[in-house]
């Protein structure tokens, strides 16, 4: 047991390091991204509502993992049904998996195009393996439909380990590279108002960066109000203070996620989570901020809620 898991650990580690260190994947990756960009611009996805929908903004986390369960689950079911000799049901299961795999491919590519470096390379291999599995299961579905059940089963048997490895890489993207994970600090500090900047230093329409205790914040003056948000994009930690303002929203300079100033909510993705907001006030010519109490995130009665209670 100990030896086996050691060997597995070493083998998987080697696999990951080999993929992450392979810069030959970059050229193909950028070509693919340019193709995707042009296609999305032609279809009007980039500036439209579909963009946020595919990123999972409405869900609060990526939409992609919702679909990946479908092929893995259905194709596992098909394996069992094949063993039980249920030919028609097995083909239906393969078919459901195919539909899920296509949806996962669309949402996966849509997320992948906004990743960097190592995650990008892992994503390339993940996508390539999935395409291979999709091909094998597609062929399996066609062959089963023509009555060639043996061929269909063989293709499924070949495809299954492929999606297992690919699923492992997908997990790596989340747990190791934190793709799709909210990357903001989410601290509760500062609990009391702290001075961050002289009021006259903050002009209209130009976001400014400031320190509030240990937290990096971005200050924005718009529509006669001063807004303060964490200076970190939840997607990949892009510096929001270097972004730009338009229609009451702040755009991340790296991947173009737009955030509503008043709530921090993402409007379009790739960031699916909101940016944490701060309360602001002006005292003696200074802008002061503190973390907006977010009682709903802590269990009722906990010390965190208590310590965050609003004091004048």
């Amino acid at each position: 047991m100990g030896l086996g898991s050691d060997m597995a650990q070493r083998a998987l580690d080697r696999l990951l390091n080999a993929i992450e260190g392979d810069d030959r994947l970059d050229r193909a990756g950028h070509r693919l991204e340019q193709g995707l960009a042009f296609t999305e611009n032609l279809l009007g996805i980039t500036g439209g509502r579909t963009r946020g929908f595919l990123h999972g903004v409405w869900l609060g986390h990526p939409l992609h993992p919702v679909f990946t369960d479908l092929p893995i689950g259905s194709w596992t079911t098909a394996l069992v049904l094949d063993l039980a000799g249920q030919k028609r049901a097995a083909r239906a299961a393969v078919g459901v998996g195919l539909a899920g795999a296509l949806a996962a491919a669309v949402t996966g590519l849509h997320d992948w195009q906004h990743t960097h470096d190592h995650a990008r390379r892992v994503g390339m291999v993940h996508g390539t393996l999935n395409t291979l599995a999709l091909g094998l299961y597609g062929w399996s579905w066609v062959q089963r439909g023509r009555g060639h059940h043996l061929r269909g089963r063989l293709a499924a048997l070949l495809g299954y380990p492929v999606i297992m490895v690919s699923g492992f890489l997908g997990g790596t993207l989340v747990y190791r590279h934190r793709i799709g994970v909210d990357q903001t600090g989410r601290q509760l500090e500062p609990r009391h108002f702290v001075r961050v900047m002289a009021e006259h230093d903050l002009t209209d329409k130009s976001p400014r960066r400031a320190r509030a205790g240990d937290v990096d914040v971005v200050l924005v003056r718009a529509d006669g109000r001063i807004h303060a948000l964490e200076n970190t994009c939840p997607h990949l930690r892009g510096p929001l203070s270097e972004g730009w303002l338009r229609d009451g929203a702040l755009t991340c300079p790296w991947h173009g996620s737009r955030f509503e100033l008043s709530s921090g909510e993402s409007l379009n993705g790739p960031a699916a989570a909101p940016v944490p907001c701060f309360q602001t006030r002006v005292r003696d010519g200074w802008i002061e901020v503190r973390r907006a109490p977010a009682a709903a995130t802590a269990p009722p009665g906990s010390a965190l809620v208590h310590q965050q209670e609003v004091q004048p």
Binding site: D26, H30, E33, Q34, A37, F38, E40, N41, L42, L43, G44, T46, G47, Q113, H114, H116, D117, G238, E242, G243, W244, L245, R246, T251, P253, W254, H255, G256
Partner: protein, 178 residues
Amino acid sequence: MLTEAPQAPARRERKTATRVLVEHHEVLRGLMRQLRETPRSQPGRRRALADELFDELWMHERIEESVFYPAMRDITPAIAAAWSEHRQLSDQLAALVRADPRTERFDRELGVMHDALESHAHLDEERQMFPEIERFADEELLVDLGDRLQARLEWLRSSRRIRAVLRLQRALLRRTAR
């Protein structure tokens, strides 16, 4: 051509890569300035300028991506983000050429284009990445890269195939605009 693209001189002046790129940023800024000064009553000129911006910015991205960024990967960690910013600029360029130059929407897209371009060219590259590179990279390497960037830019500008591809891209983007 509405602006003077520097014609290939018999013998090119040797410049560092960062200077070549900053000078090309100025070409792009000049186009943006002209676009912003052209009123809605001159849609033809606006369109021609937007076309030229589309081509020049496309070429700018390609020379950075094919020559400059790969060579700078080990010198600055900012390359991945810069690459993403290119993607944003491409998206915004597409939005700009899809907008009707007689409408307010065109002005709006132009405003976003301006912000996105300044965020990338000024805030990121000219203020952070280039000074870092000039501090840590070998002068000789930078001049060498400068030569390659200039040669690549000249080649892209004079390539008929590239021009045709860009014309086709713009036409497709406009045809599918809603």
